[in-house]
């Protein structure tokens, strides 16, 4: 998904020749990823796809961190540090989430979140 989005965007930008402000490219990619993630959360019903969508949002933020950290004149290590933390935490989150989803599959033989409607008010 990253390649699909970033390649045309970067190509477009090179055509325009706006090489002086490369930061905006990274920001556009990360914004696009955020939109993909939010779209996935709204439109998809499979729990694992929803997990993917959340991971895509986290990756969008990680791209931001690394790009912004490079942008400042005095290179900042904070951005890279933060992205490493974020990657590790996203992995733990995926582990916990997959465990819960596996259990949901065992109980319901299905991981369609719209079929989860026992709890109703």
């Amino acid at each position: 998904m990253l390649y699909l989005l970033s390649v045309p965007l970067l190509w477009l930008n090179l055509r325009i020749g706006d090489l002086l402000e490369p930061l905006i490219n990274y920001f556009i990619v990360s914004l696009a990823l955020l939109c993909v993630g939010v779209y996935g959360l709204i439109a998809k019903r499979n729990a694992i796809r929803l997990l993917f969508a959340v991971e895509i949002i986290i990756n969008a933020a990680i791209i931001n961190f690394v790009a912004f950290a490079r942008y400042y004149d005095t290179p900042l290590i904070t951005g890279q540090t933060f992205s490493l933390f974020a990657i590790a935490l996203a992995a733990t989150e995926a582990a916990v989430g997959l465990a819960i989803i596996v259990q949901a599959f065992r109980l319901n033989n299905d991981i369609d979140v719209l079929e989860l409607k026992r709890l109703r008010g």
Binding site: A47, N64, A69, F85, E93, I100, Q103, G121
Partner: protein
């Protein structure tokens, strides 16, 4: 004394080792794990009480990451107290469950995350603490893994909880890009100096962070998962989610918004005030129609988040705002924990949480009914109880900060909320029951009675907590001018 670090070390040492005891010593280690968990929480509680009462910010080993001030101590005192309640009541509630050692370990990990979150002054630590607080609660919500309802609650809670941390992370990344730092002090210095072109990014970042925090603070439009998660998960965990994790989220929100507010105070305050109005109205109106006590309490918890938001709205205009927020946070934590734990005891004994099972409950479970009635009256804000005083301070803050309409809306909402709280009390005390007399477990009851004593004492002597909150507010605002 560096209280946060000591508390974190005490809690972590027990949290990490208690699953090991289960592997090495088997089932009989459970009692020791329970005692150890309780003991570590009690030690932390004592340390935090002493550091809340000493108001000057004390030294910290990692001053750029964790600030050892009384605001953090106050919030972590609250969450540790609620975790202690939940731990002790879980002795009965979680009896004969598999892997009980891990349950207590996860409770402690949540407590560690919440403690870290209340002291954190760096966005990196805020994010790590946020995850450390959230991840164990996902597992705890689905703890009865053969129970379809518990699992459904966990799935819904997990997806929205993960979304919350993702969006929060995105907001933090933008804030880092704008200011070049993740430390809240440096951000507050450099935010006013960034160029005006950056304003859209600041707004986008603020909205992202508000959405990420809002999913935990249960503010409307991010409240959808709350009733499902609170109803499906073990009811002791609902108490933890509603009374503790939400308060820790408010601690982080105070620190972040105290930094962001000076940039564009009016627009943000107006937007937040509308969110507060919608939150309390939706919560109260939805609570009126519920058939299950946990769902009703969940919606009441959403409504109370609306009242608490008033404190954030008037943060720049009136000192009373932060004061009321702190004061009501404490009272709401005690009241909500007591109400949910009473509901947990009823669910344990009658294996039902529908409102019909509360008919005539006062005849079979007199002490539980009394404690539940007391906490519901407190949540409704009936005068001699503590919920009344803190709501009064919040509404006074709204008037003082120039949001008179918000105070009026809050009053109308309080009036609506009395209806559904009293309906439960009417069911318990007026209706007939078919149940036989039920034995109420001693530890459970002693926690409920203790909470009731706190509710009555802080209600009859409101100046104790008021003065503490006032001192904390003044010391926080003198260090972080808003």
């Amino acid at each position: 004394m560096d209280t946060p670090l000591i508390v974190l070390i005490v809690l972590t040492s027990v949290a990490v080792t208690s699953p090991l005891y289960g592997i090495i010593f088997g089932k009989k280690s459970l009692k020791y794990v329970q005692y150890l968990t309780t003991l570590s929480l009690l030690i932390s509680l004592v340390l935090l009480i002493s550091s809340t009462l000493s108001l000057t910010p004390q030294e910290s080993t990692v001053p750029h990451l964790l600030r050892n001030d009384s605001l953090g101590s106050f919030f972590s005192l609250m969450v540790i107290l609620v975790t202690l309640f939940v731990t002790i009541t879980s002795f009965d509630y979680m009896k004969d469950n598999s892997n009980e050692n891990i349950y207590y370990s996860l409770l402690l990990f949540t407590a560690i995350g919440m403690t870290m979150l209340s002291f954190a002054v760096d966005l990196l630590v805020i994010f790590v603490a946020w995850e450390l607080m959230s991840l164990p609660t996902f597992i705890l919500a689905g703890y009865n893994k053969r129970d379809k309802l518990s699992n459904e609650a966990a799935v819904k809670f997990f997806i929205l909880g993960a979304l919350s941390s993702g969006i929060l992370l995105y907001g933090i990344s933008l804030m880092f890009g704008i200011t070049g730092s993740t430390n809240l002090d440096i951000i507050s210095q450099s935010l006013p100096t960034v160029s005006a072109d950056m304003l859209p990014f600041i707004i986008f970042s603020t909205i992202s962070m508000l959405a990420g925090l809002g999913l935990k603070l249960s503010i409307v439009p991010f409240h959808m998962w709350i009733p499902d998660a609170y109803e499906g998960s073990p009811t002791t965990i609902s108490a933890l989610l509603s009374a503790a994790t939400k308060k820790a989220g408010f601690a982080a929100a105070i620190r972040i918004f105290a930094v962001i507010f000076p940039i564009f105070s009016f627009d943000l305050a107006l937007a937040l005030s509308i969110v507060a109005l919608v939150t309390m109205t939706v919560g109260n109106l939805a609570a009126l129609t519920q058939k299950s006590i946990t769902r009703m309490l969940a919606y009441s918890s959403i409504a109370q988040a609306g009242y608490l938001l008033i404190g954030l709205v008037v943060l720049p205009y009136s000192d009373l705002g932060l004061l009321g927020l702190l004061y009501h946070s404490f009272n709401h934590a005690i009241l909500q924990a007591s109400a949910f734990l009473a509901a947990a005891l009823v669910r344990l004994k009658t294996s039902s949480s529908s409102l019909d099972s509360y008919n005539g409950l006062s005849k079979v479970m007199p002490i539980t009914s009394f404690c539940l009635a007391l906490s519901l009256l407190g949540l409704a804000g009936i005068p001699p109880l503590n919920g009344f005083w803190s709501k009064l301070v919040l509404f006074a803050a709204a008037v003082d900060g120039g949001y008179t309409w918000l105070a009026l809306a809050g009053l109308v909402n309080s009036a609506i909320s009395v209806a559904y709280y009293l309906l439960v009390i009417k069911r318990m005390y007026m209706d007939e029951t078919s149940l036989k007399s039920i034995k109420e477990p001693f530890l459970f009851i002693s926690i409920l009675v203790f909470a009731s004593v706190v509710i009555i004492v802080t209600g009859l002597l409101p100046n104790i907590l008021y003065n503490i909150s006032e001192d904390i507010t003044l010391s926080f605002l003198s260090n972080n001018p808003v």
